[in-house]
Structure formats: structure tokens, C-alpha cells
């Protein structure tokens, strides 16, 4: 009973395996358009009656509502929303996906990461698609997504810097609300004297964006480009001034050195042991998320200034919607991005979830909105917010390797705080790392 069956069985099995994999490969082919063949010229409108499907990667509580509203109003252009993680995770994934042309049609990108996405050829130039909504945003806001005259994204939200503080505890401990940084230092002293378990605020070496904003408020410009030559100002005088200021507070044990939003920090927040968070307008939502029991006890005030009477603040955070180079339907994608970020409906949804819209329309609508859940008692919250938004410094720009700067900063600061060496040196180390990295890539850098 010879069994050529044996051989046949084997070959059948092997070829089945191979065939199966190939089949899977073919059927697994992802396309961002559902069933339509994209026209070569890239014109958006699908042939009438055909449906376009767009992929949208974004994080944050406002996104599902925005997508739902769009889908309802636009049956011919349906958007599929995916939460690919927070800012850093999402852009990392987008970069990797873009390498093989698999990035989503539209993605949310933080302003700080945008230049890197441009250099990495993920964000595409959409100047021609957004002409009609240019007037929906102020020039300062567009400045965050415009480079060398080309527009690379549509701003969704902005984070003008402001200070949220625990009004109840301030009153209880008899602390005066500081309006300058000098007052801030004094207040920090008073807090420590009044309650040895409490601190005016927390200083975290991980907060790159926050520190950059502080430096920018003091007059620093961390990246500047003139033609094709860059100047990196991470270790300039203004930044050093800020570093020295916080170093003093740390040395005198007037601020607590720890990471934000850890279980430890949250516990302290809940117990009223952290009294302020100098950050940005989106802070109330975050504090509420970590400490819902604090509702009604906090309020928002202007950021402390270096000179009494000044009114200048930087941005912290905020993101824009970009159309990626992988998109096969750039015009439809741009239309979607424009709508969610500049329409009245979009603005209402944003405000409802605590996002401060970048659009003029949204900011005007904000004034009429109810205050955030964290401070229902502060009736003039949004009015103050729009004043602050008007005081932001328009000329802030980021460089092509913010991610390098961020990780170098965090490491250098952590080490300096642990070893108690000057924070100035940490800034210098960051500057060196950033310049070296830019030069290695081939950028021309001054100095």
C-alpha cells in the first residue's frame, strides 16, 4: 500500500498555507476610500452617489461628537474615527504608518509636533484647500500652522496660558493671589509657613511644554528660522532667568518636585495640598478629571507676569488637524478638517467638552457659555479667557526636532533635580543636544 497520498497531502497542506496567506494579504489591503476609485487628479467630489470614507485619528473627548455631527450632515463623506492614543503616541504611530502610505486621511497633531510632521512628510500642504476659511482664525492662530507661507494644518484648539488656583484654600490660608512672579515666590513662602503639608505648586521636570511657555513669556524664542538658517534659543538669557527663578523655589522647598497627575499628585490635589497649576485654559477639565470633589473650590486667574502691568502669555498645548500625504482624498479630508474646526456646530461641541476653540467663532461663542464644571461659581471665566487669548504672543514657533528637545530636556532636568545641580546647566545640555541633532540631520544652525 504505497501512499503517494502522503506527498500529496503535504503539498496540498503547504500550498493551502501559502494560498491562505496570499489571499489574506489581498483582502487585507486597506484603502482610505470605500469602493470608489479615486480620480487621478485628486479632486474631492466623488462621482455622485458614491461614498467616500475618511480615516481620522484623534484623541480627546470632543472628537466623537465632532465626527458624529459631521457624519450626520455629510452622508456622502463618512468619517471613521480612531483614538490612536495621546499626542505623542498618536504622532509616533502616524509617522510609522506614513512610511508605508498608511497614515489616516486626517490626523490631530499638536502644534509642537507639527514641524516634525512636515519634515517627515506626513503633513501635507493644504494652502489651496483652505483659502475660504482663512478668515475664521486670527493671524496669530494661523501662525501656528503656517510655515514659509504654506499652511499645513487647521487649528482646532489653543491653550493660552493661565493659572488655575484653589480659591478656597487661598482664602483659608490667607494667601494673596500673585500677579507677578515675585509675588508668586512670596506666596509660595506664605503657603509653606501656613501649612507644612501644602505647596503653592508642583515643579515637574517632565513638563517641557509648560517650561517652554514660561521661557517664551520671558522673551525667549526657542526656535527661529531666517531663510534656511536656524537659531536655537533654549539656553538664552530669558530662559536662564526662568530656570534660575524655579531653581530658587526648589532649593528653598517652596515648590514640590514631582510629576503631575500621578496617583500621588492626585491625592494631594484632592486633599487641597497643591494650590495652583500655572498652565493653560484647558486646565480646569484636567483638574476636574483628577479631583471631581474640588468643584466649586477653584478659580482661574491671569498668569503671573515678570513686570507688573504686563499682559503677555505664551501657548501651552493645543493641536491642529492635518491632512496627511497618505490621503487619497485630500480635498474631502480638508473639507472635513475645516468643518470640525471652524463651524458653529463644531465650536459648540468643543466648548461642551472643555476645549478652547481656535476659531474666532468658537472663542466668541465661548463668552456666552457656562463656566467649566470645576469653577461653576466663576461667572466671568470665558470673558477672562478671551481677554487672555487676545494677549498671547503671536510669534512663537517650534522647530523640526521638538521631540529631541523634549526628551533631552526631561532627562537633563530630572538629573539636575536629583543631583541638585543648577537647572541652567540642564538647559545648556538641552540646547547642545538639540543643535547637535539638527546639524546631524543637515540643518544649518547658527552659533
Amino acid at each position: 500500500m504505497p501512499t503517494p497520498l502522503g506527498r500529496r497531502q503535504f503539498l496540498t497542506g503547504l500550498s493551502a498555507l501559502a494560498a491562505g496567506s496570499t489571499l489574506a494579504a489581498c483582502s487585507g489591503q486597506k484603502s482610505s476610500t470605500g469602493g470608489t476609485s479615486p480620480s487621478a487628479s485628486g479632486s474631492a467630489a466623488a462621482a455622485p452617489g458614491e461614498k467616500i470614507t475618511l480615516n481620522f485619528w484623534a484623541w480627546g473627548t470632543s472628537q466623537p461628537g465632532l465626527v458624529k455631527a459631521w457624519n450626520k450632515a455629510n452622508p456622502d463623506i463618512q468619517v471613521k474615527h480612531t483614538d490612536a492614543g495621546g499626542g505623542t503616541d498618536s504622532s509616533t504611530k502616524m509617522l510609522t504608518a506614513s512610511r508605508s502610505g498608511n497614515a489616516p486621511d486626517v490626523g490631530l497633531v499638536e502644534y509642537t509636533t507639527l514641524p516634525a510632521m512636515i519634515v517627515g512628510e506626513v503633513a501635507s500642504d493644504i494652502t489651496s484647500h483652505v483659502q475660504d476659511i482663512k478668515s475664521s482664525f486670527t493671524e496669530a492662530t494661523w501662525g501656528q500652522t503656517t510655515f514659509n507661507g504654506a499652511i499645513y494644518g487647521i487649528p482646532q484648539d489653543v491653550g493660552p496660558m493661565a493659572m488655575v488656583y484653589n480659591e478656597t484654600r487661598f482664602k483659608a490660608l490667607g494667601i494673596e493671589l500673585p500677579t507677578t512672579w515675585q509675588d508668586f515666590a512670596t506666596a509660595a513662602e506664605s503657603v509653606r509657613k501656613a501649612d507644612s503639608k501644602s505647596y503653592l505648586t508642583v515643579f515637574s521636570p517632565q513638563e517641557f511644554g509648560n517650561f517652554a511657555g514660561l521661557a517664551q513669556q520671558a522673551g525667549s524664542s526657542w526656535w527661529k528660522v531666517d531663510g534656511d538658517t536656524w537659531t536655537v534659543g533654549i539656553a538664552d538669557e530669558a530662559s536662564m532667568k526662568v530656570a534660575d527663578f524655579w531653581q530658587d523655589l526648589v532649593e528653598r522647598d517652596l515648590v514640590k518636585v514631582e510629576a503631575l497627575l500621578t496617583p500621588q499628585y492626585n491625592k494631594e490635589l484632592n486633599a487641597g495640598q497643591v494650590l495652583t497649576w500655572p498652565s493653560a485654559l484647558w486646565a480646569p477639565g484636567v483638574i476636574y478629571g483628577a479631583a471631581p470633589g474640588q468643584a466649586g473650590k477653584w478659580a482661574m486667574a491671569r498668569f503671573p507676569q515678570w513686570t507688573q502691568g504686563d499682559a503677555r502669555v505664551a501657548y501651552q498645548g493645543g493641536s491642529a488637524a492635518v491632512v496627511t500625504t497618505s490621503s487619497k482624498q485630500p480635498e474631502a479630508a480638508a473639507k472635513f478638517a475645516a468643518w470640525i474646526n471652524s463651524s458653529k456646530q463644531g465650536a459648540d461641541i468643543q466648548l461642551g467638552t472643555g476645549q478652547y476653540p481656535a476659531s474666532i467663532l468658537g472663542q466668541q461663542a465661548a463668552v456666552a457659555s457656562k463656566p467649566p464644571v470645576l469653577m461653576p461659581q466663576q461667572e466671568d471665566f470665558w470673558k477672562l479667557a478671551s481677554e487672555i487669548a487676545a494677549e498671547t504672543i503671536p510669534s512663537i514657533s517650534w522647530g523640526p526636532n521638538v521631540n529631541v528637545a523634549s526628551s533631552a530636556f526631561q532627562d537633563a532636568m530630572t538629573k539636575a533635580l536629583a543631583k541638585k545641580t543648577p537647572l541652567r546647566d540642564a538647559l545648556s545640555a538641552t540646547q547642545e543636544a538639540v543643535v547637535a541633532d539638527m546639524r546631524k540631520t543637515g540643518f544649518k544652525v547658527n552659533g
Binding site: 504505497p2 502522503g6 506527498r7 503535504f10 503539498l11 503547504l14 498555507l17 505623542t88 509616533t92 509617522l95 510609522t96 514641524p115 516634525a116 512636515i118 519634515v119 517627515g120 512628510e121 500642504d125 510655515f147 514659509n148 504654506a150 499645513y152 515637574s204 521636570p205 517632565q206 528660522v225 534656511d228 518636585v257 514631582e258 510629576a259 500621578t262 496617583p263 500621588q264 491625592k267 523640526p400 526636532n401 521631540n403 529631541v404 526628551s407 526631561q410 532627562d411 530630572t414 538629573k415 533635580l417 536629583a418 541633532d437 540631520t441 543637515g442 540643518f443
Partner: protein, 324 residues
């Protein structure tokens, strides 16, 4: 071509069933069989291990450099020779990571093996009770994913949720600084030890069970204490199992990534580049410099291979005697 030589005698002797010898064609049929058996594994190995490694090596010689175009220029991939390797080898953070690995490994490996051996010996001890329960309990951590284990221990270390700190605070001391240096190293090593003891214990234990009972029975009769039996008889006989578990522990140490990453949000003492794999992740993903990440990975992989081979070489002589 050749069939297994040990089959030849069977062919020429009668198999006891009265059947005549088979003609040669069967040899030919059998000669393709092994290739067919290993084919799926080989194909998968090539596609999912060799090709990626090859690609990683290829990438390691590339770099992303600026080319004209776009708002600031674009980054394109070009050949850069050994630049990435030079950068990796001279990066103080990358090297410091290895230093930390050494400290971490010096705690994690001996403790994992030592405890695994201890528990295995205790399980084998004639007078131990609660064997079933203990064995199962000690094996449970194996079922816990690394991320979850780090999460659990992270909360056990954090002052505000730690039962240990609760006790120490109750008796008047402060919270125990598990997540600050110098306790940081034992704390992280502890997570790996906790997760690895059970699995390694079972390996050693089953090896112990393989020792013929007569050997230690006679020693017992001669008056040897359990301790002496363990030291002189059992441990040497399970040496091969110890080598195996030691090898696993070593490889695990060199590739540690999950524990420090998960704990990082909870403490400032863990930097972004605390261990080499974190540096690689940062370079490859956060800094979007895949070629540099690939070069560092190749270096790490080479290091792992070298150390493993060294370990096998050294222990082979001792554990296996002439069978090496």
C-alpha cells in the same frame, strides 16, 4: 539522499510481521519528508525573523538627512556607513543603560534562581506540608502580564497606596522610598523576580523529581541531613536545569523594557533611557530615527548572543561534563 541510518537495520531484519523487505523507492519518499515537516517553520522563520533582522541591519547603515523641498526641507534616507554605530557606542546614555542593567541583573538573576532553587528544594523536602497550595501560589505570577505586574507593584510602592509604607508610617517612620534611588533597583528587580520565580521553580522541581529516589534515600539512611543532601546531591544533579533557567533570566535581563516603562510615570528616578531597550525605543519611535534605533538594536542583539554563548561555554564544562 540519505535516510536515517538507524532505519537500515530495521529494513534488513524481519520486522516480526513476516513482511518482506521493501524496495528502495521508499527511501526516496522519506527523504523529502523532513524538509516538508520543517518547511512551515523555516518559511515563517525566514519571513518573520531573518528578513526583519536583515532589514534592520540594512537600516542601521542608513540615516535620515535633510534634502531640499517643503517648508524646512525634507528628510530622506541615505547611506551613512558606520555613523549610527559610532553614535550609539559613544552615547553616554546608551552605555549608562548597560551599567544599570548590570546592577539590575546582579540583583534579579541570583534572586530569581536562588529563590526558584530554594522553593524547588523545599517542595522536594520530605517533611514539607502545603505543597500543592504553595506550588500553585508561587506559579501564579507567571500568569500575570508584565505590564499588569508592574502596575500592581507600582501601586504597592507608591506612598499613598502602599501597604508597606502604611505600616512604616504607622510605626512612626516615613513612607518607604521604593521608587527612589537606591531602592529603585531592588524594587524593579523585585517585579521580575516575582514574575519569574514560579516558572523557574517548576523547571527545577521537575528536574529534581527526575533524580532517582534511591540516591537520596541511601544518603538519608547514612545519616545525611536534608541540607547536606540538597547541597551535595540534588543541586549538582539539577545543574543543567539551573543553567537553562539562568540563561532565560539573563536574556530577560538584557531585554528588560516593560517594567521601567510602566513605572516611569510614577517616579522621576526613571529616565527615558534607563535601560538600553528604552533608549532604542526612544530613538526609533519618539525621535523617529529608525536607523539609529536599528543600529543600537543590532548592538544589543550581538551583545546578548555573545553573553549567552559565553554562559553556555562556561557552564557546559561544569554541568555537562563530557557530554558538552
Amino acid at each position: 539522499m540519505t535516510t536515517s541510518s538507524h532505519a537500515a537495520p530495521a529494513l534488513t531484519t524481519t520486522s516480526g510481521r513476516g513482511l518482506p523487505d521493501r524496495p528502495p523507492p521508499r527511501r526516496r519518499r522519506r527523504s523529502w519528508a523532513p524538509y516538508a515537516f520543517v518547511a512551515p517553520a523555516v518559511v515563517l522563520f525566514v519571513v518573520f525573523l531573518l528578513l526583519p533582522i536583515g532589514y534592520a541591519i540594512y537600516l542601521s547603515f542608513q540615516g535620515l538627512r535633510l534634502a531640499p523641498g517643503g517648508a524646512f526641507g525634507r528628510r530622506v534616507q541615505v547611506f551613512v556607513g558606520l555613523d549610527n554605530y559610532k553614535a550609539a557606542v559613544t552615547d553616554p546614555e546608551f552605555l549608562a543603560g548597560f551599567g544599570r542593567l548590570a546592577v539590575y541583573g546582579l540583583i534579579a538573576v541570583p534572586f530569581t534562581l536562588g529563590l526558584a532553587l530554594l522553593f524547588a528544594l523545599l517542595l522536594d523536602h520530605p517533611r514539607t506540608r502545603a505543597r500543592r497550595f504553595s506550588r500553585t501560589a508561587i506559579f501564579i505570577p507567571y500568569a500575570v502580564p508584565g505590564v499588569v505586574a508592574s502596575l500592581l507593584w507600582g501601586f504597592m510602592y507608591l506612598p499613598s497606596t502602599s501597604p508597606f509604607s502604611w505600616v512604616s508610617e504607622a510605626v512612626g517612620g516615613g513612607a518607604i522610598p521604593f521608587l527612589d534611588l537606591p531602592l529603585l533597583f531592588p524594587s524593579i528587580a523585585n517585579i521580575a523576580v516575582w514574575g519569574g520565580v514560579g516558572f523557574n521553580m517548576i523547571i527545577i522541581y521537575t528536574s529534581l523529581r527526575g533524580i532517582p529516589v534511591e540516591i537520596h534515600e541511601s544518603a538519608r539512611i547514612d545519616g545525611a541531613s536534608e541540607w547536606q543532601i540538597a547541597r551535595r546531591i540534588k543541586v549538582p544533579l539539577v545543574a543543567p536545569a539551573l543553567v537553562l533557567t539562568g540563561l532565560f533570566a539573563l536574556i530577560g535581563t538584557l531585554q528588560v523594557y516593560g517594567e521601567p516603562t510602566t513605572l516611569r510615570p510614577m517616579t522621576d528616578s526613571i529616565t527615558q533611557t534607563w535601560v538600553p531597550l528604552m533608549t532604542i525605543y526612544r530613538d526609533a519611535f519618539t525621535r523617529d530615527d529608525l536607523p539609529l534605533g536599528s543600529a543600537s538594536s543590532v548592538l544589543l542583539a550581538l551583545g546578548t548572543v555573545v553573553v549567552s554563548l559565553l554562559l553556555l561555554r562556561i557552564t557546559q564544562k561544569r554541568a555537562f561534563g563530557e557530554n558538552g
